[in-house]
């Protein structure tokens, strides 16, 4: 900075003076990435994405992979929806998943034998979108005057009300009738839905839905990008920035908030209908808080307000659980993330090597301690299944009583990470290898076997850490907040 100030003339401001500095590349790998980043325009990026999607659909025939891709597509729709409501307009809608559920159930009710309605798809889907949008309008009405945190809670309540309604509507007695009707199937859901029927063709396989999603997402992304860059998108962003100033410039804040809700709801409704088509059934427990947190985690991870961020976030959050399910991949992934984290914290090769070295060195004394104190260990055959664990078996020791040791490791890990966050800079490097060791231990001991809990733990931790360390997410721009 001091070299720059000497060049400052009177009246030239800092920003301009730093112009040269900003043009310089960051050293090393980040610099190369930056360069590539700048050279490639958005249009190229999206085109590449489209091409990848098309090739995937043409050449991949593994049904499992296609199913994951389709789920990713639906999930991405939701992420984009939340990105509009929260990222553009700055509204925290915690009942968003209810619109999704509503879309799914609406499809189920119009395309199954539950109420004996079998509407043609070209009629049911648009109708669903419109009705869900209207629902979004209704939900936005009480929310108009509320501050951010209250909006969050009220929308959360709406979401819960929806779930309660669906759960309780399996035996409704209408006035004038003696017996009750089962509308929503309660906790059993509604199975056996009609497949989509468009252009004379019944969507019987996942591939059909995949292509549908490619088309829908392409159109949706084009629309959202365009809206973001023009009048309404700008107006939404002014609401997020400073509502009072926005109003004073003639922007009808309440109307725009409602619009954001409606658009978000419409997208969620469409996503829900497509999802119901893919799943061939609807169950209420897929539309609750866990899904909500997944979607929000995706948007925040990617960067709230950033469309590419939503895409990346959706990808990570949607594909991650699948990877965690398979022990081979999950171990690999974990180790990869751990090593990358150490590398990033270490900042250079020498520190990285030291950290890894320390990590290795810790493992053997622990193993020795175990044998010396005659604590029984899990036989290697049981736990060293995947390639990674086969390597680790010589270094890591896994006690027989996995649960108890795992719990202790968990608590120790949390304590150490918490201490790390407030520790003196000089102490931090000493802590890091220990934290890494316990993390590996915990992973092999408990987490690798329990994918869903692990995923939730990671999401929870990630939300807290993200807000503290990098609230704008990976691809978002650092924001200046005025309180």
């Amino acid at each position: 900075m001091s070299e720059d100030t000497s060049k400052l003339g009177i009246g030239t401001d800092e920003w301009v003076a730093q112009h040269e500095k900003r043009l310089q590349r960051r050293a090393g790998l980040p610099g190369v990435i930056d360069l590539l980043n700048q050279r490639v325009s958005n249009r190229v990026r999206y085109s590449v994405l489209a091409l990848v999607a098309i090739f995937f659909g043409l050449f991949v025939h593994n049904l499992y992979l296609l199913r994951i891709a389709s789920n990713l597509g639906v999930f991405l729709m939701m992420t984009l929806g939340i990105n509009i409501v929260m990222g553009f307009a700055g509204l925290l809608d915690l009942g968003f998943v209810a619109f999704y559920g509503f879309g799914a159930y609406a499809y189920a009710l119009t395309s199954s034998s539950q109420l004996n309605q079998h509407w043609p798809t070209y009629l049911s889907v648009p109708a669903i979108v419109i009705v869900t949008a209207f629902l979004g309008y209704l939900v936005s009405l009480p929310s108009r005057r509320l501050f951010g945190d209250y909006l969050a809670i009220v929308t959360l309540f709406f979401g819960q009300i929806f779930i309660q309604l669906v759960l309780s509507s399996d035996s409704i007695t209408f006035p004038g009738h003696t017996d009750s009707t089962d509308i929503t199937g309660g906790s059993n859901g509604i199975p056996g839905l009609d497949p989509f029927r468009l252009f004379g063709r019944a969507f019987k396989s996942t591939t059909d839905y995949y292509w549908l999603l490619v088309v829908v997402l392409t159109l949706l992304l084009i629309a959202i990008v365009r809206i973001d860059r023009t009048r309404v998108g700008r107006a939404w962003r002014t609401i997020r920035e400073d509502t009072l100033a926005s109003q004073s410039m003639g922007i009808k804040v309440n109307n725009l908030k409602t619009l954001a809700f409606v658009v978000g709801a419409a997208i969620a409704g469409l996503a829900g209908a497509i999802f119901a088509g893919i799943q061939d059934a609807v169950f209420i427990n897929g539309f609750d808080i866990p899904l909500l947190t997944l979607i929000y985690a995706a948007v925040i991870l990617g960067g709230s307000g950033s469309i590419p961020g939503s895409i990346i976030g959706a990808f990570v959050m949607s594909v991650l659980p699948e990877i965690l399910r398979v022990q081979n991949y999950s171990e690999f992934l974990f180790l990869a993330v751990l090593l990358v984290t150490i590398a990033v914290i270490g900042k250079n090769l020498k520190k990285f090597a030291i950290n890894i070295g320390a990590l290795v060195v810790i493992g053997y004394p622990v193993k020795a301690l175990f044998y010396l104190s005659h604590l029984t260990t899990t036989p290697t055959k049981v736990w060293a299944i995947a390639p990674v664990s086969k390597v680790l078996q010589y270094w890591l020791v896994l006690p027989a009583n996995r649960i108890v040791w795992g719990n202790m490791a968990f608590i120790a890990l949390i304590a150490l990470v918490a201490y790390y966050s407030i520790a003196h800079e000089a102490i931090k490097p000493w802590l890091l290898p220990f934290i890494a060791y316990i993390a590996i231990f915990l992973w092999e001991d408990r987490l690798v076997a329990d994918a869903s809990t692990t995923r939730q733990l990671i999401i929870g931790a990630m939300l807290v850490v993200m807000m503290i360390v990098r609230p704008q997410g990976f691809l978002g721009k650092a924001r200046v907040e005025v309180l």
Partner: protein, 305 residues
């Protein structure tokens, strides 16, 4: 009349629990203007602590100490434990975000809530535990008031809740820390300039709020309800509902809101339907927020002028 009275008593007891949870929300909102989503899960941790203390002292049937002492220790340990948990949460999840946007602490709170629930799941597994209160307090013990029976557990819980609320209002109004807390709630910058140690007071606020939630958790366990890792979600929501109905940031409001909510829930369960009672609770919140956004006692504006 007997049935109504019974429902009212049940409602007040339930309301006492909700009030204690609501107080935690109001206290924290008053000083920091954030909604502590993780509060319901602190309640859950309190219930678990009480359970493990009970087991450690010999379990429901072979208690090593007299029953009242055991119950006292359960409450004491649970309240201290959750109080400390509250301090830890504040220190690591909220304090770094004091200068951030309004949404950041909310998301962080969401993260803490998820962490707590799943940590409990990991450590304690998904089994539902039970205090098995009827093992050490016969369910017939109690007394009658006309056609209303109040069993002793229920009575004890009700009295304890009232005592805690009374103690809290004394703390808020009479102690230096309590006064400092109110000062911060009114005007934080002025409080700093008056030499109040913000960090210390906020720590105390979280401790007290969390301890109350912990007590509520133990009470819930004693009333023969199950203890599991997800039990905090709905009571947390309801506690928040109560706090808002009473006027967020207002101590008497949280108490009144909690009691009101408990009674309403009990009555709707007794007279309308058990299925839909949560539904009515949530509708009640929406109605209050629309008609009287500041709540019954509230002074803090949640609505833009």
């Amino acid at each position: 009349m007997g049935y109504l009275g019974q429902q009212l008593v049940n409602g007040l007891t339930l309301g006492g629990i909700y009030a204690l949870i609501a107080l935690g929300y109001s206290l924290v909102y008053g000083v920091l203007q954030i909604l502590n989503f993780a509060h319901g899960d602190v309640y859950m941790v309190g219930a678990f602590i009480g359970y493990f203390v009970e087991i450690a002292l010999g379990g429901p049937s072979h208690s090593k100490v007299p029953v009242p002492v055991m119950i006292f220790i359960m409450f004491a340990v649970s309240m201290i434990g959750t109080g400390l948990l509250g301090i830890v949460i504040e220190r690591f999840a909220y304090r770094p975000l004091r200068k951030s946007s309004r949404i950041a602490p909310l998301i962080s709170a969401l993260g803490v809530s998820i962490l707590l629930q799943n940590a409990a799941l990991l450590i304690f597994s998904a089994n539902v535990r039970s205090y098995d209160t009827s093992s050490f307090i016969p369910s017939t013990a109690g007394f009658s008031l006309g056609s209303i029976t109040i069993d002793s557990v229920r009575l004890a819980v009700l009295i304890l809740a009232m005592l805690l609320m009374f103690a809290l209002s004394k703390w808020v109004n009479k102690t230096q820390v309590g006064r400092a807390m109110r000062a911060i709630a009114v005007d934080r910058d002025a409080a700093v300039m008056m030499g109040i140690d913000i960090d210390r007071v906020i720590r105390w606020t979280f401790f007290v709020g969390a301890a109350l939630a912990g007590a509520a958790g133990v009470m819930n366990g004693l009333l023969l309800r199950g203890v599991s890792n997800g039990m905090g979600f709905v009571p947390g929501l309801k506690g928040f509902t109560a706090a808002v109905i009473g006027g967020i940031g207002s101590i008497p409001g949280a108490m009144a809101g909690g009691l009101l909510l408990g009674v309403v829930e009990s009555l709707t369960q007794g007279y309308l339907s058990t299925n839909f009672s949560d539904f009515y609770t949530f509708i009640l919140l929406i109605a209050v927020m629309l008609l009287r956004p500041n709540g019954l006692f509230g002074k803090k504006a949640i609505v833009k002028a």
